[in-house]
C-alpha cells in the first residue's frame, strides 16, 4: 500500500486550498487530532446530512487507491445522480433562509470534494497501475560528501589510540627554532639538524627568535610536558613541513603523528606492545614487525620499526616509524626531572600509512585537490 504522505510532503500548490489541508489533516488524525476538531468546529452549522456526507466522503477518499475507484467516488458524490448533487438539487425546496445557509455549505463541500478528486487523481497518477514506474531503473543519485583519505586514516588512528587511553593534542605549525630543535636536543650547527630540511621564515630585523615551519610534530612533546604532570599518554597528529624536492614519496607538507607516553616505569617493551597493537589494528593481525636500532637526538635508545604484510607480492619490509625512550635532556627542556620519570615517544608519517593502506602510489595526490581522487574515499 502506498504510504500516506505527510501534509508537509504534499504538493505545495495544493496545500494552498483549505479543503486539501483539511483533508490531509484528517489523514494524520492520530498525530494531530486538533486539526480535525477545528475543522469540524467550522462546519458545525451544517445540517446533519451534509456533515455526515462529508465525513463519509472523506473517509472513502482516504482509501481510494485505484483510478476506477476514484471515478466511482466522483460519480457517487458529484455525478448527475450523486449524493451531493441530490442535496444541492433539493435546495430549491427549502425556505429562503435555510437555502442560503445550507447552500453556502453545500457548495463549499462540492468545491472541496472536487479538489479532493483532483488531489487523488494526481496522487494515483504517480502510482496507478497504468503508469507503474520501472523499478529496475537505477536509483536517484544522492550527493554525499567524501572525507579526505588523510582525514579518514587519521580518524582511524585516533580511534585506535583513544581506545588505548591516549588523548589527542595539537600544536602550532609555525614554530620557533627553540621548540623544533634546541629543546629537542638538536643544537645549532649540529649535523643531526641535517636530518630535517627546514623552511625558515623571513623575519624582520628585530625578531627575537628564528621561526620555521615545524619539521615534525615533536615540538608538541615539549609544549605538552611544560604544562602537564606525568603520567600521561598523548598522540599529536598534524601537518609538518620539509624543504625538499617533491616526488612520488616526498612532499613539502605532509602529516605526522607523534606519540608520547610518560610515567614512572614506562619501558621500551611497553612501546613495543603499544606500537604493535596499533599496527595490528590498522593493518590486520597478521602483520610482521622488525625493530632496528636507530638514532634520533631526542630519544635514547632509539629504534625504527618496519612492517611486512603476510600476503605475497607485498613482501618487502616497509619502514614506517621512528621511536625511542625520551632523552633525559628533553625532559629537562620541559622542566621535568628525568630521574623521576621515563617514557617513550614515536613519530609516524600519516601520508605513508595512508599510501600503504589505500595503495596510493603518489603522495602528491593528497594535495592535488582533485575530486576524482578524493571521491574514491
Amino acid at each position: 500500500m502506498h504510504p500516506l504522505p505527510s501534509a508537509y510532503e504534499a504538493d505545495e500548490q495544493l496545500l494552498l486550498f483549505p479543503a486539501i489541508q483539511a483533508f490531509i489533516s484528517t489523514r494524520i488524525l492520530v498525530v494531530q487530532p486538533i486539526f480535525v476538531k477545528e475543522y469540524f468546529n467550522s462546519v458545525l452549522l451544517l445540517n446533519m446530512n451534509l456533515k455526515e456526507l462529508q465525513r463519509k466522503a472523506f473517509e472513502e477518499a482516504e482509501n481510494i487507491e485505484k483510478k476506477e475507484h476514484l471515478e466511482s467516488f466522483r460519480i457517487k458524490y458529484l455525478g448527475r445522480k450523486g449524493e451531493l448533487t441530490n442535496i444541492l438539487r433539493s435546495l430549491k425546496d427549502l425556505p429562503v433562509d435555510e437555502r442560503k445557509s445550507v447552500g453556502v455549505d453545500a457548495n463549499k463541500l462540492k468545491i472541496e470534494l472536487e479538489q479532493i478528486v483532483a488531489f487523488k487523481e494526481k496522487e494515483i497518477g504517480s502510482l496507478g497501475e497504468e503508469s507503474v514506474i520501472d523499478i529496475t531503473r537505477p536509483g536517484k543519485k544522492v550527493n554525499l560528501g567524501h572525507l579526505h583519505p588523510l582525514t579518514k586514516i587519521e580518524e582511524e588512528i585516533r580511534n585506535i589510540f583513544t581506545s588505548l587511553n591516549f588523548s589527542v593534542v595539537e600544536g602550532p605549525e609555525l614554530e620557533t627554532e627553540y621548540f623544533n630543535f634546541d629543546a629537542l636536543n638538536i643544537p645549532a650547527s649540529h649535523p643531526a639538524r641535517d636530518m630535517w630540511d627546514t623552511f625558515w621564515l623571513k623575519e624582520g630585523g628585530k625578531a627575537k627568535e628564528r621561526r620555521l615551519m615545524r619539521t615534525h610534530t615533536s615540538p608538541v612533546q615539549i609544549r605538552f610536558m611544560e604544562t602537564h604532570k606525568p603520567p600521561f599518554q598523548i598522540i599529536v597528529p598534524g601537518r609538518v613541513f620539509r624543504y625538499e624536492a617533491t616526488d612520488a614519496s616526498h612532499e613539502i607538507n605532509f602529516y605526522q603523528l607523534e606519540g608520547l607516553m610518560v610515567g614512572q616505569n614506562i619501558s621500551l617493551a611497553n612501546f613495543k606492545f603499544i606500537v604493535e597493537t596499533f599496527f595490528k589494528k590498522l593493518f590486520g593481525k597478521n602483520i610482521e614487525f622488525r625493530f632496528r636500532p636507530s638514532y634520533f637526538p631526542f630519544t635514547e635508545p632509539s629504534v625504527e620499526v618496519d612492517i611486512k604484510f603476510p600476503t605475497k607480492g607485498r613482501g618487502d619490509w616497509l619502514e614506517v616509524l621512528g621511536a625511542g625512550m625520551v632523552h633525559p635532556r628533553v625532559f629537562e627542556s620541559a622542566h621535568l626531572n628525568p630521574r623521576d620519570i621515563q617514557g617513550f615517544a614515536f613519530g609516524v608519517g600519516i601520508d605513508r600509512l595512508a599510501m600503504i593502506k589505500y595503495k596510493i602510489p603518489d603522495i602528491r595526490l593528497f594535495y592535488s585537490g582533485d575530486l576524482r581522487f578524493i571521491n574514491q574515499f
Binding site: 550527493n143 623552511f199 613495543k272 625493530f291 625504527e304 585537490g369 582533485d370
Partner: protein, 636 residues
C-alpha cells in the same frame, strides 16, 4: 656510506655471507640500505661517525655482534720525532685540537697495488696515485681523513689559521673558492694550501715527481667544518666525517697507519714527525645500573650479561665496588664520542641483546580519562556535518604565490609559486573549483586548516560551492551547520553586494562571498567558533498548541533587498511569531522589470493556548501596515 665486504671479511674472519651479514647488522647496529657486488651501503647515523664510519670501527661492531675476533693492523709504529724537518703552528687550538704531521722521503711513487685499488673501488673512490690512494685507503680503514702535501712545494711552516676575508684557494680539482674569516685553512707563508677538513689545494699537490711528503692527520672542530661545508656547499669524504665530529684520538691512529702503509707499499722512509695538540678530552666514566636498565627497557638482564655486551664493544668495566651492588662503572672507548650518559650505554646493551627480541609488554599504569583538545572534537563534528551536506574535503598546500598585506614570507621558498604562507583557505578552494569544474557540473568542497599572518596562526575552515544559486545554498548550509554545532543566534549581514559577514553572539566568525551566480565561498574562524559553540543541547517542551500560518505576498521596487524586508518584519515585534520564511521570489515580470514579488510565510504559535484567527489577523495586520509604510510595499 660505502663499505667493502671483502675488507670487512679480512678484518673479521668468520663473518657470514654478505646477505646474512647485512641482515644482522641491520637488526643490531646500522641500516644496511643496499648491497651490490662487493660493496655494501651502510647508513652510519650522525652520532657514530667518530667510531663507525670506518672499516676498523665496523669490524669492531661486527666482532661484538657475531662474537668473533678482529685482525686490525693497528700496532703502534716506531716513528722518529723532533728532527725539525716539519714545523707546524696551530693558531687556534679550539678549532684544531690536534695536528699530527709525518715527514717521509719517497724514492719512487710507482703503482698502487690491486688490493688497495679494489677496496677504493668498492667504496666508490677513484684510484689516483699510490700516495693519494693510501691516504684514502687509510681514511676508509680508520675513519681519519688524511692529506699529503709535497714538502718541497711548501713555503715555510704549516700554519693552521682562519682564512682572511676574501682569501682565495684553488682546489685539487681546479675549483676556486672564496673564503671568509670563519673558514679554517691550512696555509704556509704564500697562502692557503687546503680548506681544513674539507678539500686539499692545488699548490702543494703530490705528483709523480714528488720526493718528500708531509702526511697530515688532524682533528678539527665539528661546528667550524659544518658551517664552512654548508656555506661553500662542498661535501667531501673528509667534510662528511669532520662535520659530524671525529675523535681527536683518531689523528695519531690514522697517521701511524698511513706511514706504515707508505713504508710497506712504496718503500717510503719515515724521517720525522710532530704532534701539536691542545688539552685532549679525559676518560669518560659512566655508572651502569642494571635495575635502572631493566626498568627502562623492560628486561631482566643480570649484571654480568649487561657487562659482557659492553665489553664486547670495547668498553672497559672498572672493577671497583659501588654502593649500589647492581651498579658498575664503565670506561668508554675514546672513539665512542656518542656515549656520554647512562642511556647511551643502555642503548648499546639493548641493541646487542636485540630490540627485535624484546617481548612486547602491556604498560601497567593508572587509568586516566582521555582528554582531547576541544578543537579536535570540533573538527570531527564539522566534518561529519559537512559530508552529510554533500561536501568533499580537500587539502591544499600551506604555501602560496599570493602576497597579502600581512603575509609571512619564507626565507628559503622551494618554488616561486610557494613563497608565502597562506593567509586564507579561500584562495586554494577557488583553484580547486576551477580545476574540478571540468569534471563536475556541481561542486561542494571544504578544507580545514591553518592560516598564518604577521598577527597569528589561526585554524580555519572554508566552504566552496558551485551550483545554481550557490550563495543561497551556502547561506542555508552555514546556518544549518552553525545551528547543528549548537549556535542559536546566527546573523549574516551584507557588507557589500556580494559579501556577507557571519556573526554569532556578537562574534564575527567569518565571511561568505558570492563569486558569481553559481559559485560562492565562505571562510570561518575555527578558533573563534570554538569559543562560542555550546556542546550541550537542552530539551525544550513540545508545544501542545497548533500553529497558524499566514502568507503575505507583496510587490516592492527592484532595489529593495529581502534582508530589508525581513528587518522590517523583525522590527514589528510580533506576538506569538515562530518563524518567517521567504517562500516565493519572483523578479521576472514580463511587463515590468523594476518590480519584485515576494511571498513570506509567517507561522504563529503560542505556548499557552490555541491562537484564534482574530489574534493572528491582528498581528498579521501589523506586518502589512509596517511593510506598506516603511518600504512602500504593495500587498497583493
Amino acid at each position: 656510506m660505502k663499505f667493502s665486504y671483502s675488507l670487512l671479511k679480512k678484518l673479521v674472519p668468520g663473518i657470514p655471507s654478505k646477505e646474512k651479514f647485512a641482515d644482522v647488522i641491520n637488526l643490531k647496529a646500522f641500516e644496511v640500505e643496499e648491497a651490490t657486488g662487493n660493496s655494501m651501503e651502510i647508513k652510519i647515523t650522525p652520532n657514530r661517525f667518530a667510531d663507525a664510519a670506518s672499516h676498523w670501527g665496523m669490524a669492531l661492531e661486527a666482532a661484538a655482534i657475531f662474537n668473533l675476533k678482529t685482525k686490525l693492523d693497528d700496532k703502534p709504529l716506531n716513528i722518529p720525532k723532533g728532527k725539525g724537518k716539519v714545523r707546524v703552528v696551530v693558531e687556534n687550538k679550539h678549532a684544531c685540537p690536534v695536528y699530527v704531521a709525518h715527514y717521509l722521503e719517497v724514492v719512487k711513487i710507482g703503482e698502487t697495488p690491486a688490493w688497495i685499488k679494489s677496496v677504493l673501488e668498492d667504496c666508490g673512490l677513484r684510484p689516483i696515485n699510490p700516495v693519494v690512494d693510501i691516504m684514502n685507503y687509510v681514511m676508509l680503514e680508520t675513519g681519519q681523513p688524511l692529506h699529503a702535501f709535497d714538502a718541497d712545494k711548501l713555503d715555510g711552516s704549516i700554519v693552521v689559521r682562519f682564512a682572511k676575508q676574501g682569501e682565495k684557494i684553488v682546489s685539487l680539482d681546479n675549483h676556486s673558492y672564496t673564503l671568509t674569516k670563519e673558514d679554517l685553512v691550512i696555509a704556509d707563508k704564500s697562502g692557503a694550501l687546503a680548506i681544513a677538513g674539507i678539500k686539499g689545494g692545488k699548490r702543494a699537490e703530490v705528483d709523480k715527481n714528488t720526493k718528500r711528503i708531509i702526511v697530515e692527520a688532524a682533528n678539527f672542530n665539528q661546528a667550524n667544518i659544518y658551517k664552512t661545508m654548508k656555506r661553500i656547499a662542498l661535501q667531501t669524504d673528509a667534510s662528511m666525517r669532520f662535520s659530524r665530529g671525529l675523535s681527536p684520538y683518531s689523528a695519531s691512529i690514522g697517521a701511524n697507519r698511513a706511514s706504515g702503509l707508505l713504508k710497506e707499499v712504496i718503500k717510503a722512509k719515515v724521517v720525522d714527525s710532530l704532534v701539536v695538540a691542545g688539552k685532549l678530552p679525559g676518560k669518560e666514566i659512566i655508572e651502569f645500573n642494571t635495575d635502572k636498565f631493566n626498568s627502562l627497557i623492560g628486561l631482566s638482564l643480570g649484571k654480568k650479561q649487561a657487562a659482557d655486551y659492553l665489553k664486547s664493544l670495547g668498553f672497559k668495566i672498572i672493577t671497583k665496588a659501588l654502593k649500589n651492588k647492581n651498579s658498575f662503572l664503565v670506561e668508554v672507548p675514546p672513539l665512542r664520542q656518542d656515549v656520554t650518559i647512562f642511556e647511551d650505554l643502555a642503548e648499546e646493551v639493548v641493541r646487542l641483546y636485540g630490540v627485535n627480541d624484546l617481548k612486547p609488554t602491556p604498560p601497567l599504569v593508572g587509568l586516566v580519562p582521555v582528554e582531547s583538545d576541544d578543537i579536535v572534537n570540533l573538527k570531527k563534528e564539522l566534518r561529519t556535518i559537512l559530508v552529510g551536506f554533500g561536501f568533499s574535503e580537500v587539502y591544499n598546500y600551506s604555501f602560496v604565490d599570493k602576497k597579502e598585506a600581512d603575509s609571512l614570507e619564507l626565507m628559503n621558498p622551494i618554488a616561486e609559486d610557494k613563497k608565502y604562507l597562506r593567509v586564507s583557505l579561500s584562495h586554494g578552494l577557488k583553484s580547486n573549483i576551477t580545476l574540478n569544474a571540468r569534471e563536475f557540473a556541481t561542486l561542494r568542497i571544504f578544507e580545514i586548516g591553518k592560516v598564518f599572518s604577521t598577527k597569528n596562526e589561526e585554524a580555519r575552515f572554508a566552504l566552496g560551492v558551485k551550483e545554481p544559486e550557490a550563495m543561497l545554498h551556502l547561506k542555508g548550509i552555514i546556518s544549518q551547520l552553525l545551528k547543528r554545532l549548537g549556535l542559536t543566534d546566527i546573523l549574516m549581514k551584507d557588507e557589500s553586494n556580494n559579501s556577507l559577514t557571519i556573526k554569532s553572539d556578537g562574534v564575527v566568525l567569518g565571511v561568505a562571498h558570492s563569486l558569481n551566480s553559481n559559485s560562492a565561498i565562505a571562510e570561518l574562524n575555527l578558533d573563534a567558533l570554538l569559543k562560542i559553540v555550546i556542546a550541550e543541547n537542552e530539551y525544550r517542551p513540545l508545544s501542545k498548541y497548533p500553529s497558524i500560518s499566514r502568507d503575505i505576498s507583496l510587490v516592492v521596487p527592484r532595489d529593495i533587498k529581502v534582508g530589508q524586508v525581513l528587518e522590517v518584519i523583525d522590527d514589528v515585534n510580533l506576538n506569538h511569531i515562530q518563524n518567517v520564511d521567504l517562500i516565493d521570489y519572483f523578479d521576472n515580470f514580463e511587463d515590468d522589470k523594476s518590480r519584485l514579488s515576494l511571498t513570506f510565510r509567517l507561522v504563529f504559535r503560542s505556548e499557552e493556548k490555541t491562537l484564534t484567527d482574530e489574534e493572528v489577523d491582528k498581528e498579521f495586520k501589523k506586518v502589512e501596515a509596517a511593510l506598506v509604510s516603511k518600504i512602500r510595499a504593495v500587498i497583493r
